[in-house]
Symmetry: C2
Subunit: 212 residues, 2 copies
DNA sequence: TAGATTGTTAATCGATTAACAATC
DNA sequence: TAGATTGTTAATCGATTAACAATC
């Protein structure tokens, strides 16, 4: 049922559907129609049905969508039911916050190693993981073949480390620096988390309040 | 020159232009054509010209764009040359990382207060700011009228605090929890930083590598 | 002036919304 | 069966790209 290329707009909406379906489960709700879900998520029912039908229909005519089934299908679409290995580089403020706050397993990844260049951090345990020295990165990757790397590095360090990891066969990156990785490494798969951009657009919208 | 409603797609691209123009400045480059910038940013020259012309043209025919001027114009468009006041709630891992890593002034905001519910944190100085107890929030806001709030709270705490802040007249929110604030408070201006969503879409893209 | 590159209009492309037949 | 709601096609809307006249 899966058509050739699915728009990244559709893909990017999937985690949000997933979150809302989780909320519905928590409320003990078992089924929902596209119209009801649309109202809750501030979307149109049409869009919801179109989105889901990119991957084949998960609903039942005259009934709606079974929430448990739909959520499971989305988990499968996103691949988070088949966790991949990931490492994290940079155990500074952001790295630490990510390690401690993110439930990797439920987002499709198993965190198998964390690295920093600071000798003083090496050996420290952050949420079950010992910090490893960056000099052991090559060996670790050759042995464990992580699928993805979460980069919590300053802008200047991001490019060389990304290059190093790419050479070690790592394809996927979640990048927290303001450096735009993918421009230099088009063959990689990158999600940039530029949350400072959010501050700037918030600034714009506050200064131009008339527009909703 | 500013036309009625500017697409949020355009607005969301502005911070990225701003970053790239900063990089160009750092490299000592003074002028750039839309074609050259397009190549660097992986966009089309057409789109760049269209984007800038939403706000009036900042280029010169036959020459291109003066980088200093263009960057300044974008800063003005985003309003980051006129900083607004902001408070931050939740001095946990994420809050701490944000306070320490984000250069608020250069993103359009002045951080005037940080709050937490934990008594043990109160009085602690985090990058020049003393942590205040959440019970002093109302008084602080009535006195200082912050324009925005950065919420670094667990999902469950986000909604009530957002409501409280809204009642205190705060319009803008940068939200780091996975709770979607704006659904309940349509009159507010919210930027959601759902970086866990990025992990899930990364999972999808790694599992479906054939599509660039 | 000639060449270059913008600003802007027109054409295309893609995404969202609407409509409705299929069907539970 | 009748009512409801999906899956899916068609219509609309908006965003991106292409083209070119204006002009530095």
């Amino acid at each position: 049922m899966i058509k050739g290329a699915i728009s990244s707009l559709v893909i990017n909406r999937m985690p949000r559907y997933y979150r809302f379906l989780g909320d519905l489960q928590d409320e003990g709700i078992k089924k929902i129609s596209s119209r009801q879900l649309a109202e809750r998520m501030n979307l149109t029912a049409s869009q919801i049905r179109q989105d889901f039908n990119c991957f084949g229909g998960f609903g039942q005519q005259g009934y709606g969508y079974n929430i448990d089934i739909l959520k499971q299908e989305i988990a499968h679409i996103l691949g988070i039911d088949r966790p991949q290995t990931a490492i994290l580089i940079g155990v500074g403020n952001i790295g630490r916050a990510v390690i401690k706050n993110v439930n990797f397993e439920s987002k499709g990844f198993t965190l198998i190693g964390i690295f920093d260049e600071k000798e003083s951090l090496v050996g420290q345990i952050v949420k079950n993981s010992p910090v490893r020295h960056i000099s052991t990165l090559d060996e670790f990757c050759r042995e464990n073949r992580p699928a993805a790397a979460i980069l919590c590095l300053p802008k200047a360090a991001t490019k060389p480390i990304a290059q190093q990891l790419l050479n070690l066969g790592i394809k996927g990156f979640l990048n927290f620096s303001s450096y735009d990785i993918y421009l230099d490494f088009p063959e990689s798969i990158v999600e940039n988390v530029h949350f400072e951009d959010g501050l700037m657009t918030l600034s714009y919208r506050l200064h131009n309040e008339e527009n909703t």
